[in-house]
Symmetry: C2
Subunit: 281 residues, 2 copies
Amino acid sequence: MKIEDFSAPAAEQAAARRAAVYQTLFSRRDVRGPFRPEPVPDAVVSRLLTAAHFAPSVGFMQPWNFVLVRDPAVKRQVHAAFLRANAEAVWQFEAERRDLYQRLKLEGILEAPLNLCVTCDRDRAGPVVLGRTHNRAMDLYSTVCAVQYLWLAARAEGIGVGWVSIFHPAALRDILGLPRRIVPVAYLCLGYVRHFRDRPDLEAAGWQERLPLESLVFLDRWGEPGAAATAELRDHLRRDQQEAAAHAALLAQADWMVAPVAAARRPDDAESADCDSERRY
Amino acid sequence: MKIEDFSAPAAEQAAARRAAVYQTLFSRRDVRGPFRPEPVPDAVVSRLLTAAHFAPSVGFMQPWNFVLVRDPAVKRQVHAAFLRANAEAVWQFEAERRDLYQRLKLEGILEAPLNLCVTCDRDRAGPVVLGRTHNRAMDLYSTVCAVQYLWLAARAEGIGVGWVSIFHPAALRDILGLPRRIVPVAYLCLGYVRHFRDRPDLEAAGWQERLPLESLVFLDRWGEPGAAATAELRDHLRRDQQEAAAHAALLAQADWMVAPVAAARRPDDAESADCDSERRY
């Protein structure tokens, strides 16, 4: 493989940046609490929303809106809607799963200082949207990209995010006054946390194991699990999964992974010359 | 706001990590080329797939599969399917948009050394899935999260990714041999690039402008644009958007943002003590 030369400092910066990104990806959690009561400052909320706004979108449609929910009365209505839907959900599971289901904490609506509904405006760019002509769901997918952008920015800020999906969409629509064309894609609970867990709650609770990635990868055509990927790639996949899980466990213990970054922004903060123009980010 | 004390090194690490994450979020592009011809090594493909596999999923369902496409014959079939769909798409736009539409490059299927179809198996965890009971689309959304994870890991690796959505889903299904229950969520083109553009192609081409974020944010209830967010938050949002765009422009010029990180992994690479156990990530 021919790769152009590049200077060592560039390589070091690139490696450090890459490590930071993977650390953030692997240590992000779907957080249901416990949330710390401190509010998320406007300066931080703004960075999170800006991150979301720079997500990719089909036809550069930017179909999203962001309904911040801070009013305890609104949160209580949303929480009640969750309780109603969840009471229905319980009975859809078989008896032996039902007990475990009922013990799981699936939301942090009331405890989280900030709730956020991320919506998709299906009419944002008129009826014909570049890239949505043959897949009507692309605008919804774009909105999910914005959610994932915000989620990762939040992780980098030391803020936990949980996605609550157990609602009748019509209930959220009523409570938040969403017009017909607006789809509530994600209802998120946000706040500072004391720690991020080392693995997903549902894995730790024994609800579902992480699947072996090498069984999910095919080459050129759908086929029997694992049959299509090359032996070398399968070896890499097995090792990388172990290392990713080990990292997540290690990072869950690291103080600097939960330090609320907002508080670190003091005039005497050491910042490299390269970051001089990057004061806010 | 009460925030616990923490040591300066932790604050510095957190700030550096946060900056790296925002830089990656803001400088990610939807890349249609030009791609460099060098193949993406298996070691890098494995890291990208591992990143995707650590994305959040509803009920920890992990509904994704990854069909890597390297065979030129398969790529040609996919490209032909794009051309057919795109010829239909053109006529959906009004005359004055049609010329511009036809000048836009919307895919890099043949040029990209690696194509990847990310799919959603709607039956992965049986008929009842925790968190999907009241929103049937949650497994599709989870698959989009995996796409976004991979996209950001790729950006950190110096690899461009483009999402091609102008296909009849049935065409992709036929070419790749996907079973009925499998939804092709994203068809991606991947490869090293000489540079990442400073802003989205569709913005640069005058197809669509970036919307003012402050008009998309509401507080507690859907309302008139901008009326509901506080004045302080609106000020932050305006400034953060300008800075994010300025960063993206700056970063597009930075060598270390396009250095292929894979090539930097030599035994003599300087790595901090903290990263000792983080050799691969």
